[in-house]
Amino acid sequence: MPILIVLALIVLVIFAIIGIYNGLVVLKNQVKNAYSQIEVQLKRRHDLIPNLVETVKGYMTHERETLEKVINARNIASKISPDAKLQSANENVLSGALKSLFALSENYPDLKANQNFLALQEELTSTENRIAFARQFYNDSVMKYNTKKEVFPNNMIVSMFNFESFSMFEIENSEERENVKVNFN
């Protein structure tokens, strides 16, 4: 009888370990999935920028410097680096360059009335939103995963198996958080 109880306990423990392990794997995959979603959206932005520059070039002849800055930032960011922190820094530079481009475009009424430009602007606004949302979902997932990893019985299992850790996307200064909104009134 005592043997049976001990056996039952062992089976129970094994099942608990399996449950925790599987839960962690599910979360880990969610984090990875979220990260690939960010990459998809970043790629989308990198693909849109050449179109934008092509459209804008004819109108903004005096803003060569800004355009070059955008292209450079785009070229650096499009070589996606495995380090999330470095990548996010590069992307922030690109965001800043794009923002200054859109701010400057306010001075060119003809450009602002161009249908192609408006469509591109909508696409880029949406892409910026998607990147922000993908990052926030990634951050949420990482936070959930990290918390689950550190909680008491789980941390023992984590030390037994190899569970990698992820770093969050961070935005350095509050200025970077500000999205430029266009007001038509």
Partner: protein
């Protein structure tokens, strides 16, 4: 968020199950009576009552099951307004926003989009499962909302789908419609005054009682769900002000349209809308919390997370909304900061009138056209005022520049200006 969904699910299952059990019992009793009347001559009747009752319950339960299997998965019409699906090319922005929210929620949800050809600004979500769900937006709503506001509204509607509110609504709608049909037939039987009228009356009372209880329960859950969807929307978009602004606009627009024909909208249909079609105070019978309350909670939020929403909700309503486990992870998520850039009115005008303006001359022509248009509107208003004058309308000029036109059917002595809230005596 999964904690909220789980809690929601448990609550809906309990509500639906208790409703089903209640009606199965009542209708089981009827079925038993029917079966008994068929086998009147059977000798061992008394011993078999239990058996008959059980089979009656089973039959009633089967009816419910069939009804659930036949649930419609399509968006419904509102009154005489037409609904049509929309293409990706024409409504690129709308599709973009839907995809954004799908990313923000991490669900990859892609509901079908429909336009409701109506001048009333409103929106709703429906569908039995998340895969087959759809979001319907009225034409007017698309016209009046800005991008951020539209994002808030779409996030709210998609939260309904993600939180399984649409499934619940559809199920309870089906249950409720069967029970209403049964109640009505009992009432008819009782009115006819034939044999068994008393029995019919008793059954009607039983049925109506169950219906009332379930209705109140349903409304209560439905109201909380609106708040929860608001909370989810503000967390997804990180911008509660967007949804608040949209609700404010809707409230204003719907206040203007007092002559809308409400005939075809019943209470359960009402429950699925962004803001209620039928206006009621925040009572136990209303499907929606008052829009003002919702706006207040949204505008009071200082960070965009569930904890903050719960805090503001408690301050206003003195009750809990979200389960504790949902609040653990969420804290201090900053609200998106939106910096406004002003565009010259001239350019904004050109954009508003269809874009593609090549030179300054064209801008000038458009400006002239706009002036002509404004003059036409002015003339039109004058004629309208004359017609109103003849019909017995009273016109009051408010200090804020609004002209209040009071119809002869208006009985109150005091009227409040919708813009500056100043009271005027007629």
């Amino acid at each position: 968020m999964w904690e909220v969904i789980r809690k929601n699910k448990i609550k809906s299952v309990i509500a639906l199950f208790s409703m089903t059990v209640w009606y199965s019992m009542v209708y089981g009793f009827i079925c038993m009576l029917i079966i008994l009347s068929v086998f009147k001559d059977s000798a061992n009747l008394a011993q078999n009552v239990n058996f008959f009752y059980a089979s009656g319950v089973l039959v009633a339960f089967l009816i419910f099951l069939i009804q659930f299997l036949m649930l419609k998965d399509k968006p419904y019409k509102v009154g005489s307004c037409i609904i049509y699906p929309i293409g990706k090319d024409r409504y690129k922005q709308l599709y973009n926003i839907v995809e954004e929210i799908a990313i923000a929620s991490g669900t990859g949800l892609s509901p079908q989009l429909y336009i409701l050809n109506s001048d009333i600004p409103n929106a709703y979500a429906c569908g039995f499962s998340a895969k087959k769900s759809c979001v319907v937006i009225s034409k007017k709503l698309l016209e009046i909302l800005s991008r951020d506001e539209l994002q808030g509204v779409i996030a709210h509607e998609m939260s309904h789908i993600i939180n399984k509110d649409t499934t619940y609504l559809l199920c309870s709608g089906a249950l409720y419609s069967i029970s209403a049909a049964f109640s009505a037939s009992f009432l008819k039987g009782a009115k006819r005054g034939s044999r068994g009228a008393a029995g019919c009356l008793l059954l009607y009372c039983l049925s109506a009682f169950g219906q009332a209880i379930c209705f109140i329960l349903f409304m209560f859950i439905s109201r909380k769900r609106e708040y929860i969807a608001d909370a989810s929307a503000s967390v997804y978009t990180r911008y509660p002000k967007g949804l608040a602004d949209a609700l404010l606009k809707l409230e204003y627009e719907n206040d203007k349209d007092v002559f809308f024909d409400y005939d075809n909208s019943d209470s359960l249909l009402n429950a699925s809308f962004l803001i209620p079609f039928i206006k009621l105070e925040d009572s136990i019978f209303s499907t929606h919390p008052s829009t003002q309350n919702r706006i207040k909670v949204l505008l009071n939020m200082e960070t965009a997370d569930y904890r903050e929403y719960e805090k503001e909700f408690q301050r206003l309503n003195n009750q809990n909304l979200l389960p504790k486990s949902a609040l653990e992870n969420a804290k201090n998520i900053p609200i998106k900061n939106v910096k406004e850039v002003k565009i010259e009115p001239k350019i904004a005008l050109a954009c508003a009138l269809g874009g593609a303006v090549k030179d300054k001359e064209q801008v000038q022509t458009i400006k002239n056209n706009k002036e002509i248009l404004e003059q036409n509107i002015k003339k039109h208003r004058e004629v309208e005022d004359m017609v109103r004058d003849l019909a017995g309308y009273i016109a009051i000029d408010c200090e804020c520049g609004t002209k209040l036109k009071i119809p002869p059917v208006y009985k109150d002595k005091i009227v409040i200006c919708p813009h500056c809230k100043k009271k005027h005596v007629i």
